[in-house]
Point group: C2
Chain length 704, copies 2
């Protein structure tokens, strides 16, 4: 929900809501071209839809969803009860015209054009999926006036910059419930993401039913996995929205859960149980360097690549999974295998010697090649994380780049030189808690890659959410709306990169996402409501709205390194403040616009609004403390409430010309240190109110 500043910002033109230029629209992702004409198409009880084309069940379903949702949005009773393929009236107010129905695939024609006059809307596309992309744009054009809902007249033509626009969800470390996946698919279709990549197995769990190897889910999970019936339903659900699904089974490392089920596959014998690879209780006693050493030098659960029985197993497994996941890709992970388990096993070392394999990197390449050949039998193309790349692997292996790398990254060039293709996830890790703009400004084509190379080798990119501290209760809070900034980066032109304009649209999109797709707001409110046992949650929401998590790996490492830090198991609740708050604070964004405008123009209206917000924050602790009397958790985090009150009080004094500015700044700077793994998001703006100068937002955040 937007803050009290919205009206003010609209009024003073910062949100430009009134002006009918294409820049004032709330389209996200922005289309390749948009031109507005004078006039408006108004949605009235006469609004009808006709679909013209060779017949497409998924487009008909999408048109019905659009029509019903538009009825809910506008409150207008439209005349058609249910639109069928027979409703092809060219005289309908909205006509949707397409040439052919296609299966969702990478590289299909997703272009569309919209022509809106005051009396007629024409949506035209080559394919039914292109028409579906256009319907989403049309829905985002709908806006209220005092008298009714309308679309501005105009012309839009659009197509994606990249053909691969993905979201990876780790459903292994914490299980993500089926319904949450469906809601993510709904959100993806709104922002035109076309690939759902499911990380289905890791040390902590194996998450899909196998009928050939049923121990995988029986012994490899804590009871939570998707049944084959659910996977079929999910496939249909995704395909109906023009989205493919890429299943990932992480091999040869990250495989504890598989080894728990079938220990004969392991590189060393052990009593495998699905669990975190490194025990937090051990790691917590170490410092960062020792953790790094541990990670590089400890043998970890790893598949044995030297035995033929391994490949027999995966032949059976790939055969089954290829039937279950009909899209043409199979992701085999291949990341973070330090090779130590292999080096310590004499039989594997002997195998390497016999085969002339010089090191464990090459042994992994051998393993990848063997899996590639099996997958090929079942018409699947292999994808692997960047460690899968090796000059000896087949060209048709797709490489997914994930490591944060300097700008002059050479790996992408090597991959393209090898005539392989790459998907970029570097810079798109949503579990880093970075604000959306950091991902938004991260172009998949880095400066040192030529346009020709990019065209040839860069398929696109993928946002990724790893689930060490994510489960069904906060996945939607963590992924959305930030993933939409990445969706725009991958769909829209590279030149579209105005951060303020992106945020203006992102907050409106978040309303649409919560209305039509996800339960981000619902889940946020549910956790806060529990803290206060159903008392009025305004004071805790005021608090939570202005805090964001520490950035980068700090939270993960914090949990590892801080003695006494909470040490959850796979079933532990994720209901603390760092679990629930947004990585981006919408409240802070609006506050920042106001502070920037005030410091620029010294307008008294802004000053009064800012003061009243500061006063509200300062006073918030009174009601917070009332609630804390009966809330164990609020007592734990009362220092956050005190901090908000103190910080707002300092800024208020500074604005009133009271106190010493140097002292005030120092006091605020002392509050930059995180508490409970969260930071006060409004601190830079409060500091600016003291110094009179607003610092630009950081261009990068350190990972550690």
């Amino acid at each position: 929900m937007r803050t009290i500043f919205t009206a003010l910002l609209i009024f003073t033109g910062i949100l430009s809501a009134g002006a009918q230029s294409p820049d004032s629209l709330y389209l996200l992702p922005r289309p390749q071209s948009a031109k507005l004409n004078s006039g408006r198409f108004v949605f009235a009880p006469q609004f009808t839809v006709g679909v013209q084309g060779p017949g497409s069940a998924k487009l008909t379903a999408a048109v019905n969803r659009f029509y019903i949702q538009l009825g809910k949005r506008t409150g207008v009773y439209f005349p058609q009860e249910f639109i069928t393929a027979a409703d092809n009236n060219a005289g309908a107010q909205l006509t949707v015209k397409f040439d052919r129905s296609v299966l969702p695939q990478i590289g299909i024609d997703e272009s569309y054009s919209l022509n809106i006059s005051p009396t007629k809307i024409s949506l035209t596309a080559s394919t039914d999926i292109g028409a579906m992309r256009g319907l989403e744009t049309l829905y985002q054009l709908v806006a209220p006036s005092g008298t009714g809902y309308y679309c501005p007249a105009g012309e839009i033509s659009d197509s994606p910059r990249f053909k691969w626009r993905g979201l990876m969800i780790d459903v292994a470390r914490h299980f993500i419930p089926f319904e949450v996946l469906k809601r993510n698919i709904d959100a993806m279709s709104i922002v035109k993401i076309n690939v759902l990549h499911l990380h289905l197995s890791d040390d902590e769990g194996f998450r899909v039913e196998s009928k050939v190897y049923p121990k995988l889910q029986e012994l490899g999970s804590n009871g939570y996995y998707y049944t084959q019936e659910q996977i079929k339903e999910l496939m249909n659900y995704a395909h109906d929205r023009g989205i493919i699904i890429v299943p990932e089974f992480d091999l040869p490392g990250h495989s504890t859960s598989i080894l728990a089920a079938y220990p004969f596959l392991a590189s060393y014998p052990a009593n495998y149980k699905p669990a975190r690879r490194y025990k937090l209780d051990t790691i917590k006693k170490l410092n960062l360097m020792s953790v790094m050493k541990l990670i590089s030098e400890t043998p970890t659960p790893t598949i044995d690549p030297s035995k033929e029985s391994t490949y027999t197993f995966f032949d059976g497994f790939f055969k089954e999974m290829s039937g279950l996941f009909p899209d043409p890709y199979l992701h085999i992970g291949a990341d973070e295998n330090n090779g130590v388990a292999w080096k310590q096993n004499p039989a594997i070392v002997a195998f390497m010697t016999a085969k002339g394999i010089k090191n464990t990197d090459e042994l992994q390449a051998y393993f990848v090649k063997r899996l590639h050949d099996i997958a090929q039998k079942y018409n699947k193309r292999i994808i692997g994380w960047e460690e899968a790349f090796n000059p000896s692997i087949p060209q048709d292996v797709i490489v997914q780049k994930w490591k944060p790398a300097p700008a002059a990254d050479t790996l992408v060039k090597s991959i393209i030189a090898h005539n392989s293709q790459v998907i970029i996830s570097s810079g798109y890790y949503l579990d880093m808690y970075f604000p959306a703009y950091i991902h938004y400004l991260n172009d998949p084509v880095s400066a040192n890659v030529s346009a020709a190379d990019a065209d040839k080798g860069i398929l696109g990119g993928e946002a990724a959410i790893w689930s060490e501290s994510v489960n069904g209760d906060n996945e939607e809070i963590r992924v959305w709306p930030r993933a939409a900034a990445i969706a725009e980066r991958l769909w829209s032109a590279a030149s579209v990169k105005d951060v303020d304009d992106m945020y203006r649209r992102l907050w409106m999109l978040d309303f649409e996402l919560n209305d039509r797709a996800i339960e981000e707001n619902t889940n946020y409110n549910k956790i806060l409501a529990r803290w206060v046992s159903d008392e009025d949650l305004t004071p805790v929401r005021t608090l939570a709205n202005v805090y964001t998590q520490v950035k980068g790996y700090k939270r993960l490492m914090g949990a590892m390194l801080t003695p006494g830090a909470a040490s959850p198991n796979l079933s532990s609740p994720l209901v603390n403040i760092a679990d629930v708050v947004h990585a981006d604070s919408e409240t802070d964004w609006y506050f920042r616009q106001s502070v920037a405008t005030y410091l620029d123009k010294h307008d008294d209206t802004y000053l009064q609004e800012i003061k009243s917000e500061l006063q509200r924050w300062k006073n918030n602790k009174v009601r917070f403390n009332d609630l804390a009397a009966n809330s164990p958790y609020l007592r734990q985090i009362s220092d956050l409430s005190d901090r908000l009150s103190d910080a707002a009080g300092i800024a208020l004094k500074a604005l009133n010309g009271e106190g010493n500015k140097d002292d005030q700044l120092k006091q605020l700077q002392q509050m930059e240190k995180a508490l409970h793994e969260v930071q006060l998001a409004i601190l830079p703006e409060l500091e600016a109110l003291v110094t009179g100068k607003l610092k630009p937002v950081p261009a990068v955040y350190p990972l550690f």
Copy 2:
């Protein structure tokens, strides 16, 4: 969420939160016996569960849900990742002990007992389903203190008063999505409702996939129906929670959708399409008496009971549905058949003559008997609405009473005298928009039925929601939490009937329901958020929280009788204020407690709180009007906003001793007339602030 008055009411003892007497607990339904001891069981990271019994997959699943949910509620990291049947440690902090695993059925032993000491919780039951009922009670005992979550030490023993405690959902008139049904089942299990009755067919739609007669869903619905896979999943979901499902196919009337699919079944030829039986456009021109005449004298779509082909059809159909719905009941409707279609068909009249059937009531009894015999072949017992009762029907037909009847109702006595059994829905129709207490005080055993007769013949009761103005967006708002008041009526002792105490617990239960089961709050907020396009919705929520719908059939008849009233079709959105507000206003309930206390004690603290609330209501229109500038719907209902402001202003003046009390009362009384099918719920309390005297709430509401 509770209002600002809560703390005050707790403070002054009205909610008795502090006192540890059984009366202070938030159990709903109330158990048959509860006794508290001194001390508390505190939930700490050592909390473990052991299950002792012969093995029950559904109880193990329920224990895991309980354990995980308790983790979320308390924020405590418990040690067990996943509880299995092997976790049977008698030394666990919570032991769940049961003797046998049973299928959910009417009349099984659902009793349980809880024994809580500061160090141990023992839950004991004969059956796994009894243990599941006890787990729900235990969860409701969990409360926060400043330092942690606890259960008070004590002993509870409990069992239901009635064996049949149902909720009927009409999924035919408007389709109710699958997920919404699952959420209703979750809510039902919390309040120990054990029957989900699905009204699967009516004039407007046929809502379940038939493979034997596929035209039923293809031609008999607007595309929305449950697949057989979904029904299977729903059956498992319900059975896992100790709930049976009763499918209803409404025959011989209310059958337009069936006749649209198979017109040969009809009593007269017509071009049948699934639709409302009476066209609103026709009816709107008539007055109430003419409508009644129309209903009693017009032939309506009705199955032909005279042809053998009818029974051949239903033999095939019952056979298929009996396999799909394994529980032993089949509801055949049999309501509201005026017999005119039969009387007008010479062939049917000839059939009656040949068979010696004297009138259409007896013809319907013949039809019921024939269907009874078919159902018996498939081991199903027939249920019919009260019109199905006739002295000639088989004794094992269960009769569901629905008509609002005078206290000296004789039908129940006749049914029992016939050695048949009855389920009471009279007084439990949630679509009447009555406040919860009306249903709560409606005992299923009316005064003129003897205890012995009741024991013999009254199986229990069912709440019912008909869906003329209900769909997936507001079903949860309409049913919950009011259905819980009926659940308590059917579970708890007849002597438990303190209305204020019921409401005290109901609002807390509503928090639990929204946290664990339903999306009532989510759906409410979504509709309001759309009205304001994501601006701060506080002003519209303030408004919506104090309005409730007109009561009884007024809304339905209003839509029929008011020229120009909205005339929705089956797909139209239900997003107006009368669609979204609660039939019971929680805000009004808390306000009423405050006003009552103030008028009783003239305490200044209450006076100041009441004035501040009145001021907030009075001022609400300012921000409402700001929002209305850009909201077509808020402009339409600005008279409701003005009314709230005016009414609060009048009461404020009266409290301040300004103005003329007679005039003020008259002005308030003029506001009793509904606008937009809603009424200002706080009006009786505002009037009381003028007169100094709070009238009791109505004992009954007129139906028309």
